[in-house]
């Protein structure tokens, strides 16, 4: 599904001493499975995820998704790809503060409202939220509940790829493992890429990618 070839991401391009967030990174990922990208802070794992999800354009190299070079797409094409193919869970939940949990899930949807609401309810229940919490705003939910709403939002369009940046960071162990279980189940027929520095949540992943200093240091592929 993803083929990453010699991708580099350089910050501070104008400075003499260039800073590489990714440095000649190459990797190929399958169509399905749970992929864990692990590495210390500053290793380039989030940058890799942003490049793969078209939020960032690498300075050098190519990323191919389903045979299409996504580094050469226009802004509009990248938006369409993100909207139709990808789902996102960010480090912070980025829920819209004035919307209910239900609306926060539905807002990302591309189908009609009724269908989305049914599906959103299904995901929220599966992620451990109770029905009475569907109409609560983020300020009335715990950090863990907010993150679960964000995960439901990422899943609402049944994307082929979910990018999750530290999805369990604000969850307790029990909830963290529940979330990973859901992502694992989701990855049975789709690809889920989880970026984390918490090795304990990666015990069920299909592929582990270890990064160090913008480079691939180890891979279970």
């Amino acid at each position: 599904m993803f083929e990453i070839k010699n991708v580099s991401m350089i910050y501070d391009m104008n400075f003499e001493e260039k800073m590489y967030a990714l440095n000649g990174f190459s990797l190929t990922l399958p169509d399905t499975g749970l992929v864990g990208i692990i590495g210390p802070s500053g290793s380039g794992k989030s940058t890799l995820m942003y490049c793969m999800s078209t939020l960032k354009k690498p300075t050098e190299g190519n990323i191919t998704y389903n045979g299409q070079d996504i580094t050469s797409l226009s802004n509009k094409q990248r938006e369409t790809l993100r909207r139709n193919e990808f789902g996102f869970v960010f480090q912070k939940h980025y829920l819209v503060p004035y919307m209910t949990a239900m609306d926060n899930v539905v807002v990302a949807g591309i189908n009609n409202d009724k269908e989305l609401r049914d599906k959103a309810a299904e995901y929220l229940l599966a992620l451990g939220l109770k029905e009475r919490e569907f109409n609560k705003r983020p300020s009335k939910l715990s950090g863990g509940q907010c993150q679960r709403v964000a995960i439901a939002r990422a899943m609402i369009n049944n994307p082929n790829v979910i990018f999750a940046d530290e999805p369990t960071a604000s969850l307790d162990h029990e909830n963290a493992f529940n979330v990973m279980k859901i992502l694992k189940k989701y990855s049975e027929d789709r690809l889920v890429i989880v970026v984390t520095h918490d090795r304990s949540i990666l015990k069920d992943v299909d592929i582990t990618v270890e990064m160090w200093d913008g480079k691939l240091s180890n891979s279970s592929l």
Partner: protein, 386 residues
């Protein structure tokens, strides 16, 4: 496939913020329309006196020179006065023969006041013999609706609106502050021209006029005089349709329109600044929301469309609410203030409504500046998290 970000979610879920803005806009709409309504009620009320009444009656005071009488040619004042009277009688006789002139008569006039919401107007009406009054009343399409016709000296018929406006009543004295207790109100007329008429009581200081009862096509006295071979000069007094129309434009419409435009501009500037400040604050608090949308695949156009629809919903509701409140207040004012004042009013002024709507559209236009700045500065979440 759903292609739009819903604008209703913000409107529904931010009732406090949204209603503050809606109420502010609705009140502004109401204030602007009510100010227009009150000013234009004055314009509408004065229109009858300035534009309608002169189509039925004109007042002329011609100089002897205009009438072709040269003082130097007469040895005594009596001869001179006799010549003036003779010349005037001839003019009156010629006028009566003219098509569209139902009567012309030399008579005294009295002065009536009529108070608008803004300003006051005074106008002459004739003091005729009691035998002439029915003809005048008939000519003015007036109808006695209360009291009786004048029978003795110093008795006045007053239009019902003027009666209310000047807080007079049957049996009371007409314009007592000016004319003392010389003239008594004996009847009330219903008339589309605010007609007043009465019988004389000695001499008043309002002067003598040739009162010409005309129709609309022959209400231009300069033309009428030319038709009968008289060339009026700037020293003649002629209160006719042309003169009143000129005064109406200069003293009423031009001044009121200028004042209304000035008020509208000031209100709109203040409103635009307030809405701009409020909206910038709204958008600042929503930057993360916009970033989320662009990160998960909505375009900047989608975000712009959503913001624009939100604004249109807010402005739309404001205008509907403002209209409802305005109509209620106008009806209340009409019945409790304007009607008792004997003023003529109407509720719907499409030109001024359009002007207010254009001002609102201009504010929406001004809001495009902060919206464009915000839209251009939307980042994706990866940029925020770095």
């Amino acid at each position: 496939m759903k292609s739009k970000l819903s604008a209703l979610k913000f409107v529904r879920n931010n009732k406090k913020q949204v209603w503050v803005m809606i109420i502010a806009l609705a009140l502004t709409f109401m204030t602007m329309y009510i100010i227009n309504f009150l000013f234009l009620t004055t314009e509408e009320s004065f229109k009858t006196l300035f534009l309608e009444q002169p189509k039925r009656v004109a007042y002329l005071d011609l100089t002897p020179d205009t009438m072709g009488v040269d003082k130097e040619a007469y040895a005594s004042n009596d001869e001179y006065n006799s010549a003036v009277n003779k010349a005037r009688d001839k003019i009156i006789a010629d006028m009566k023969k003219h098509e569209g002139i139902s009567d012309a008569v030399l008579t005294q006039a009295l002065y009536a006041h009529y108070q608008g919401i803004v300003g006051e107007v005074g106008y002459d009406f004739p003091l005729l013999s009691k035998e002439q009054i029915p003809e005048f009343v008939n000519h003015m399409n007036a109808k006695l609706i209360d009291g009786r016709m004048p029978e003795g000296d110093g008795e006045i018929l007053v239009d019902e609106k003027v009666l209310k406006n000047q807080k007079m009543e049957i049996g009371g004295y007409f314009n007592e502050s000016t004319f003392g207790q010389n003239f008594k109100v004996v009847g009330v007329l219903e008339s589309e021209y605010m007609t007043c008429v009465g019988t004389p009581m000695g001499y008043t200081n309002s002067g003598w006029y040739i009162v010409v009862l005309c129709d609309e096509e022959n209400a231009d006295m300069t033309k009428l005089l030319h038709d009968i071979g008289i060339t009026p000069s700037e020293y003649d007094t002629m209160y006719d349709s042309v003169d009143w129309a000129k005064m109406y434009k200069e003293l009423v419409t031009d001044q009121l329109d200028t004042a209304l435009l000035a008020i509208l501009i000031v209100v709109i500037i203040f409103l635009a600044i307030s809405i701009l400040v409020a909206y910038i604050s709204f958008m600042r608090s929503r930057v993360n929301e916009y970033c989320l949308y662009t990160s998960i695949g909505f375009g900047r156009k989608d975000v712009y469309g959503m913001i624009l629809r939100e604004i249109l919903i807010i402005f739309g509701i404001s205008i509907i609410l403002g209209s409802v409140v305005t109509v209620i207040i106008m009806f209340g004012m009409g019945n409790s203030v304007l009607e008792p004042m004997g003023l003529i009013y109407k509720y719907f002024y499409p030109e001024h409504l359009l002007r207010i709507l254009a001002a609102f559209a201009a504010i929406i236009g001004v809001l495009q500046i902060p919206i464009s700045v915000t839209i251009n500065n939307i980042k994706t979440i990866d940029m925020i998290e770095e």
